[in-house]
């Protein structure tokens, strides 16, 4: 096999096997640090050896064997020095390792441990991307505009707390599962959103690597917990947003709103998959959670061939349903945006203005007002609202869009 082929095989194995490898090693050796080091070393060995030796017939098994051997070597070296210390730091794991086939379960343990609520949210995100996603520390640091050393510290500290406070390495009990699953989904949605609307004035308005990673991990959780409706809901939501990525930013680097997007540029395959998931949840006949309702709202948008075909009454009804689950002012703002299409900008503006208190510092509140005021011909007020929105917007493409709209005002 060519060198390039071997390298591609190693990279594919990394995508497929990293989380499984970390999970298996953690289960076997009771130590996240050791698992991470041994897995990283095994992949480095693969990259070094496969081009010359050829890709092994079963890359996953080769990696497990290699990493286990590396971990044992490391343990032997360390045990000579600090036998008792290592013993004391074993992860708490209250049932014996399962049969080798129960891989799904192993990865779930890893995910739930990385997303434990006793860890700070930013640590959960970092730990999940490192241990489940296999991103390197420099990659994660870049994605969140944090110094590499600081990101490394964050991950190290989180792992230290897992050990010292005995955060258990297991899947939560059925009684705790819904709350804990929603904690995992919050981490994944945060990763997705950071990729979707990059904060800061960096050159890339959309970070495809982060959205893709969030989708990949959500797919993994979906495969592991197929009966959890909110997992399917979040996956559908991400797919339907991701499907519009190509149409969302103009070649000039400006945000394109949903109404102005070239719907032909939407990804039909992702939309079909998203719609399938939404239909699956509807058929389940179980009261949906927030992600499922958000996915349904997006499915109404992606079902419309032209923006004028959009079923706005359906969208407003879904926002009503969402508001009952999540009484946040942001939901109320999005509902008001849909109301503008159904009942006109004046009705909508009245609803938006009622949100002035809680949303005064939120750029989308001012951008919405600016647009409604523009449609009502109140140019001067619209301009002031655009100014506020531009000042608060954190994303380069959005700033470019808002600036043009403001400058187009008569």
């Amino acid at each position: 096999m060519s060198e390039a082929g071997a390298r591609a095989a190693a990279s594919q194995a990394h995508q497929q096997d990293w989380a499984r490898l970390i999970a298996t090693l953690t289960r076997r050796f009771g130590d996240l640090d050791l698992a991470e080091e041994a897995a990283a070393e095994a992949f480095a060995t693969a990259v070094a050896r496969w081009p010359a030796d050829g890709v092994p017939p079963n890359p996953g098994a080769w990696l497990t064997t290699t990493a286990s051997r590396l971990a044992i070597d490391r343990l032997r070296r360390e045990n000579k020095r600090q036998d008792k210390h290592r013993e004391a730091q074993l992860l708490y794991d209250d049932d014996p390792p399962g049969p080798p086939g129960a891989i799904g379960d192993e990865r779930l343990r890893l995910i739930f441990t990385c997303c434990h609520p006793a860890l700070a949210l930013e640590s959960r995100v970092a730990l999940t991307l490192r241990l489940v996603g296999g991103l390197t520390v420099p990659e994660i640091a870049r994605a969140f505009l944090v110094q590499e050393a600081a990101m490394g510290q964050r991950i190290t500290r989180a792992k230290a707390k897992i050990k010292a406070a005995r955060i258990p390495y297991r899947v939560p009990s059925a009684e705790d599962l819904p709350a804990r699953v929603s904690g995992v989904l919050a981490v994944l949605f945060l990763v997705f959103n950071e990729g979707y609307l990059v904060t800061g004035t960096g050159p890339d308005p959309v970070r495809h690597d982060l959205t893709a990673e969030a989708i990949r991990l959500t797919r993994l959780i979906r495969a592991l917990l197929p009966q959890e409706g909110e997992v399917a809901g979040l996956l559908a939501l991400m797919l339907l947003i991701e499907a519009r990525r190509a149409a969302r930013v103009s070649p000039g680097g400006e945000l394109v709103t949903l109404a102005d997007q070239d719907r032909g540029a939407w990804d039909a395959v992702l939309i079909a998959e998203g719609h399938r998931l939404v239909r699956e949840r509807l058929a389940a006949g179980v009261a949906p959670g927030c992600y499922q309702v958000l996915a349904a709202i997006n499915a109404v948008h992606t079902s419309a061939r032209e923006v004028r075909d959009t079923d706005w009454s359906q969208i407003v009804a879904l926002y009503d349903q969402l508001a009952r689950l999540d009484a946040s002012p942001v939901v109320a703002l999005n509902r008001a945006i849909a109301v503008a299409e159904l009942d006109g900008p004046e009705v909508s503006l009245a609803a938006v203005d009622r949100l002035a208190g809680p949303l005064a510092g939120y750029h989308a509140y001012h951008a919405t007002r600016a647009d409604l005021l523009r449609r009502l011909g109140r140019s001067q007020q619209s301009r002031a609202a655009y100014d506020m929105a531009i000042e608060l917007a954190g994303n380069a493409a959005e700033t470019a869009y808002l600036t043009r709209r403001r400058d187009q005002l008569g």
Binding site: K84, H85, A88, Q89, Y92, D94, H116, A118, A164, A165, R166, I167, P168, P172, D176
Partner: protein
């Protein structure tokens, strides 16, 4: 594994008083605490528990130098202070957090969960 559950008092109404009862539990809270403590004993989690007097009655002593220096009052003045504590035995943090949640409910105060060094 043992955890320290610190009861954090942050009641705004707290003011120094003649006796040592400011900030201590109401009869209702005491009842809830008794029920909770009995359960801790019955389920094998109990190691120790106790309520503390107000921080004003604390004395700090520093004998690192040539002479012991005695200071009236707590070592740090803050709006939040330690009102009491439990030491519990729990197999892992999830169990400790569950117990702390019940403890917080029964004494109507925030609770910090902190592991003891395991060696």
């Amino acid at each position: 594994m043992q955890y320290l559950l610190s009861v954090i008092d942050d009641r705004a109404g707290y003011a120094p008083q003649e006796d040592d009862t400011a900030g201590s539990a109401t009869p209702q809270e005491m009842n809830a605490l008794d029920v909770f403590n009995e359960r801790l004993v019955a389920d094998g989690h109990w190691v120790f528990a106790g309520g503390l007097g107000v921080p004003d009655n604390a004395t700090v002593i520093d004998n690192r130098g040539a002479e012991a220096v005695v200071t009236d009052g707590p070592f740090v003045e803050s709006k939040e202070y330690l009102g009491g504590l439990w030491i519990i035995e729990a197999p892992d943090l999830d169990v400790a957090l569950k117990l702390a949640a019940e403890g917080s409910k029964s004494c109507n105060r925030k609770v910090e969960v902190r592991p003891f060094l395991s060696e």
